[in-house]
C-alpha cells in the first residue's frame, strides 16, 4: 500500500526552475511502477505534491468542451501556474466559486510540459484549494522560508565539501541531511553547471520577501504603520477593490498631506506583500 505523499513547501522561484527527474538517476530504486513522476529543483528538492499559499491574481476558464481552469498564484518570489480540469473536481468547483484577488491555499501535483527542447512549462495540477486569511499566508511564507534555507545551507555545504556523487550523498547523510535531500543534492550537482547563481538569487528573493512580512510587526516603524494604514484606508475609500488609477490616487494622497514618496513606498510594500496588485499598468487593486 502506498503511503500518502508529502506536500513539499517550495517557493515559486525554486518550483519554476524544477526539471524532470529520470527514475534511472535515483540510486535508491524503489522498484515501483506506481511511483509518481518526480521533479527536481536546482537545490536538489525532489518533489511531486506541493502545498502553496499565495494570492490568486488571475483566473481564467480556458476549457472549450470540458471544464478547465487556469490560475496564477503569487508568492513573494514569483508565481505558480495552476490548472484544474474535469479530473480535479474538488479544485474545479472551488475555482468556479472564487473571485480573484484572494489569499488561497492549495495542494496539487507538479506537472512538466516540454513542447520542444529549451522551453519548459512547470505547473501545478490542483487537487484541493481553499480561501484562507493573511495570517496563514504569512505562516506559509515563514515555514517555506525555513525549509528552503535548510536546503540552501545543505546545498552550500555540499558545494563547499567538493565531494560528488555517492561520496557526497554519504557526507550529507553523515551531516544529518534527510535521505531524500542528500540524494537530490548529489543528483542536482551532476546536472547544473552554475548552481551558485541560482542559490544566490533565491537567497535574495527570500530575504526581500521576509522583510516585507516583518514590516507590519516592527515597533520602531510605528508612524510608518500609521501612514500605511492611512494610505490603505484612502485606497479603500477610492474603491481600491475594483481598481484605482495610480496617478489620481497619488494626487488624492498628496492633497491630504501624504508626501508622494511615502505613497510610493507604501504601495510598493503592499504590492510586494500581496495585499494589492496591478491588473493593468497604472492601475492598482486591493486584495480581499
Amino acid at each position: 500500500m502506498l503511503k500518502r505523499e508529502i506536500a513539499k513547501r517550495v517557493f515559486a522561484k525554486e518550483f519554476e526552475a524544477c526539471r524532470e527527474l529520470d527514475k534511472s538517476e535515483r540510486s535508491v530504486s524503489e522498484a515501483d511502477s506506481k511511483s509518481p513522476n518526480l521533479l527536481i529543483s536546482p537545490l536538489g528538492l525532489i518533489l511531486n505534491r506541493v502545498f502553496a499559499v499565495g494570492v490568486l491574481t488571475e483566473l481564467d476558464s480556458i476549457g472549450t468542451q470540458n471544464e478547465m481552469w487556469k490560475a496564477r498564484i503569487v508568492d513573494p518570489t514569483g508565481a505558480f501556474t495552476v490548472y484544474a480540469g474535469q479530473f480535479q473536481p474538488d479544485a474545479s468547483i472551488f475555482f468556479s466559486t472564487v473571485q480573484p484577488p484572494a489569499f488561497i491555499a492549495l495542494t496539487g501535483k507538479a506537472r512538466i510540459y516540454e513542447p520542444e527542447p529549451g522551453s519548459v512549462f512547470i505547473s501545478i495540477r490542483a487537487e484541493e484549494a481553499n480561501v484562507v486569511d493573511e495570517e496563514i499566508r504569512n505562516r506559509w511564507v515563514v515555514d517555506t522560508a525555513e525549509q528552503t534555507v535548510d536546503r540552501l545551507e545543505a546545498f552550500s555545504d555540499a558545494l563547499a565539501s567538493g565531494y560528488r556523487g555517492e561520496t557526497l550523498r554519504e557526507y550529507l547523510l553523515e551531516k544529518g541531511v534527510s535521505e531524500d535531500l542528500a540524494e537530490g543534492i548529489s543528483i542536482a550537482l551532476e546536472r547544473d553547471s552554475a548552481p551558485r547563481e541560482f542559490a544566490k538569487q533565491l537567497r535574495a528573493s527570500i530575504r526581500e520577501g521576509l522583510r516585507v512580512l516583518s514590516l507590519e510587526s516592527e515597533d520602531t516603524a510605528e508612524s510608518r504603520v500609521d501612514q500605511k494604514e492611512f494610505v490603505l484606508e484612502l485606497l479603500r475609500e477610492m474603491g481600491g477593490g475594483k481598481g484605482v488609477d495610480y496617478a489620481s490616487f497619488v494626487d488624492a494622497a498628496i492633497s491630504r498631506g501624504v508626501p508622494e514618496e511615502v505613497v510610493e513606498e507604501v504601495v510598493r510594500s503592499l504590492l510586494a506583500g500581496g495585499q494589492c496588485y496591478e491588473p493593468k499598468i497604472g492601475i492598482i487593486r486591493l486584495v480581499g
Binding site: 500500500m1 505523499e5 508529502i6 506536500a7 484549494a129 481553499n130 515563514v142 510587526s217
Partner: protein
C-alpha cells in the same frame, strides 16, 4: 521431468533454491495438474515467492511479511496439541510455540512442524511469514518454510539474549517482551476492572523519562509510589495495545523508588519530564512505530471523507451506515461528530482523527449546530462540504498519540489548537541565517582579477 517443464523448473531453482524441500515443486505440479501452462505456472510461483529473498533481523519484522529469511536463537519452546476439528482434513496435530531472539530483539513464533533444535539452539528459517496475533507480530513457520539448525553462529549467547535489556522509553517497541527502565510517574489513577468475572484493582498511569512517555498498568499494588515518584522497574512486561507499547507491572516485576542521590544521575527530573512535550516535526513521528503523547503542527491539506456527522451503534459504538450495524443488525444509531484530516508540515504527512469534543472546537460548531445544517440542506454531505471549506489550508497544532501502520501515520488527537503567532522571532532568525545582502558586503575580494598592493 519432461522437456516442456524442465527449463522452467531450472529457472525456478536458480531463483528460489531447492524446490523439493520447500514444497515449491509440489505447488508447481499442482498448477500443472489444473492444466495451467508451465510458463504461466512459473510466473505465478515467482510472483508468490518473490525472486528476491530478504534477510531480516527481528527488529525489521512487521505484520504481513512473507518470503524472508531470519536467523535467531530459540529462547523458549513449547508444544500445544491441537484439537482436531470436524470436517477439516487431517493436518498437523501439534503447534510448536516459543520465542526467537537475535541481537536486535525477540519475537514470538509458532511453527506447524517440529523444529530441528531446542532452547539455546540457533536456527535459520527460510520462507517464513508473519501474522498479527493478539496485537503483536508473530513469526509463523509453515509447511513451506525451510528450517535448519546453525551450529556455528555469531549470535549472542542464550544467557545474554534472555537477559532483560535496560531501555529508555523511546526505544521500547513491539520487539520487546520484558524490559528494565527508570522513569518518573506523571499520572496515576486507581480503577477496578473485572478479569474473568473477578473484580480486581489496577493502577494505570503515565511514565516519562527524558526521551518519551508511555502508558503503564500495574496489576499489583505500588506502596509509596505516587505522582512525582521516580522509580526503577525491573522485568516489566511490554504489551501492545492499538500499536502502542504499554508497560505492565506484574507480580514478577521489581519496582523500587530511586533514592534522591541516585535520581540526580538521571537525565531527567519530575519537573523536566512533566513539562509539555516540545513540538516535533512530522518526519520525526514518521520515523517511529508509535509515539505516545507528542505534539506537532502543520497545515490541513485535506479533510477526508467520513468526516462530519456519523451514526454509531448504541451497543458497540461502531460507525454504522443506514441504521444497520455490522454486528447488531438494525439499530437506532446515536449521532456523533468527528473529523479525519491530513496534516502536513512539508516534512511528513499524517492522518489525524479529531473526536467530537475537538471537532466541535476546531470547527467552531457544536454537533447540534452541525445537525441543523444537515437538516436545512438537501445535500447529505452538507456538513462535510462545510468542514472542507472551513478547514482546508488551516494551520493546526495537535497533541496525542501516533501509530505508524500500513497506510502511514495515524494520529489520534487529544488536544488541538491554533499555534501562537511566533513569526516575528522566526523571521529575525531566518534573516540572520540568510546573511547580509550581497551589495552590503562591499566589493568582492576574489573577483578573479589580480590586485596590486
Amino acid at each position: 521431468m519432461d522437456e516442456k517443464t524442465a527449463p522452467h523448473l531450472e529457472e525456478l531453482t536458480r531463483a528460489l533454491g531447492d524446490l523439493e524441500k520447500t514444497g515449491i515443486r509440489a505447488e508447481f505440479d499442482k498448477l500443472l495438474a489444473f492444466r495451467v501452462s508451465p510458463e504461466v505456472a512459473k510466473e505465478t510461483i515467482l510472483r508468490k515467492f518473490g525472486g528476491k529473498w530478504r534477510i531480516l533481523k527481528v527488529k525489521d519484522l512487521s505484520a504481513s511479511l512473507k518470503n524472508f529469511e531470519i536467523t535467531g536463537r530459540i529462547l523458549d519452546i513449547g508444544e500445544k496439541p491441537l484439537r482436531p476439528q470436524e470436517g477439516v482434513r487431517e493436518g498437523p496435530s501439534k503447534l510448536y510455540t516459543g520465542v526467537l531472539a537475535d541481537e536486535t530483539g525477540s519475537v514470538m513464533f509458532s511453527s506447524w512442524k517440529e523444529l530441528p533444535g531446542s532452547v539455546g539452539d540457533v536456527i535459520n528459517i527460510k520462507n517464513a511469514y508473519t501474522r498479527l496475533w493478539q496485537n503483536r507480530i508473530r513469526l509463523s513457520i509453515g509447511e513451506q518454510s525451510l528450517v535448519s539448525k546453525v551450529s556455528d553462529s555469531s549470535l549472542p549467547l542464550l544467557s545474554e539474549l534472555s537477559r532483560t535489556p535496560a531501555k529508555k522509553l523511546i526505544d521500547i517497541g513491539a520487539a520487546d517482551f520484558s524490559v528494565n527502565t527508570a522513569a518518573c510517574v506523571l499520572q496515576l489513577s486507581h480503577r477496578e476492572v473485572s478479569v474473568r468475572g473477578k473484580q480486581s484493582k489496577v493502577i494505570s498511569g503515565v511514565l516519562a523519562d527524558e526521551t518519551a512517555r508511555l502508558p503503564f498498568t500495574a496489576w499489583v499494588e505500588l506502596p509509596g509510589i505516587d505522582i512525582g515518584s521516580i522509580i526503577r522497574i525491573e522485568g516489566a512486561q511490554i504489551r501492545m495495545f492499538r500499536g502502542m507499547p504499554s508497560i505492565n507491572l506484574v507480580s514478577s516485576t521489581k519496582v523500587s523508588s530511586v533514592a534522591a542521590e541516585d535520581a540526580d544521575k538521571l537525565a531527567f527530573t519530575f519537573e523536566s519530564a512533566a513539562k509539555d512535550p516540545a513540538p516535533l516535526k512530522i518526519e520525526e513521528i514518521a520515523s517511529r512505530d508509535s509515539m505516545f503523547d507528542v505534539v506537532t503542527a502543520g497545515n490541513v491539506v485535506s479533510v477526508r471523507p467520513g468526516s462530519g456527522i456519523i451514526s454509531r451503534c448504541p451497543e458497540c459504538s461502531r460507525v454504522i451506515q443506514k441504521a444497520n450495524c455490522r454486528v447488531h443488525g438494525k439499530v437506532e444509531g446515536i449521532r456523533d461528530m468527528r473529523i479525519k484530516a491530513v496534516l502536513d508540515d512539508g516534512t511528513g504527512a499524517m492522518s489525524v482523527m479529531f473526536p467530537r469534543e475537538l471537532a466541535e472546537i476546531i470547527y467552531g460548531k457544536t454537533l447540534e449546530e452541525a445537525e441543523q445544517l444537515m437538516f436545512s440542506d438537501i445535500s447529505k454531505d452538507a456538513v462535510y462540504e462545510d468542514l472542507r471549506r472551513f478547514l482546508t489550508g488551516r494551520y493546526l497544532a495537535v497533541r496525542g498519540n501516533s501509530s505508524n501502520g500500513e497506510y502511514g501515520i495515524s494520529f489520534v488527537a487529544e488536544h488541538a489548537w491554533v499555534p501562537e503567532d511566533d513569526l516575528d522571532v522566526r523571521v529575525v532568525e531566518l534573516l540572520r541565517r540568510l546573511g547580509p545582502d550581497e551589495e552590503e558586503q562591499g566589493p568582492e575580494v576574489s573577483g578573479g582579477g589580480v590586485s596590486f598592493a
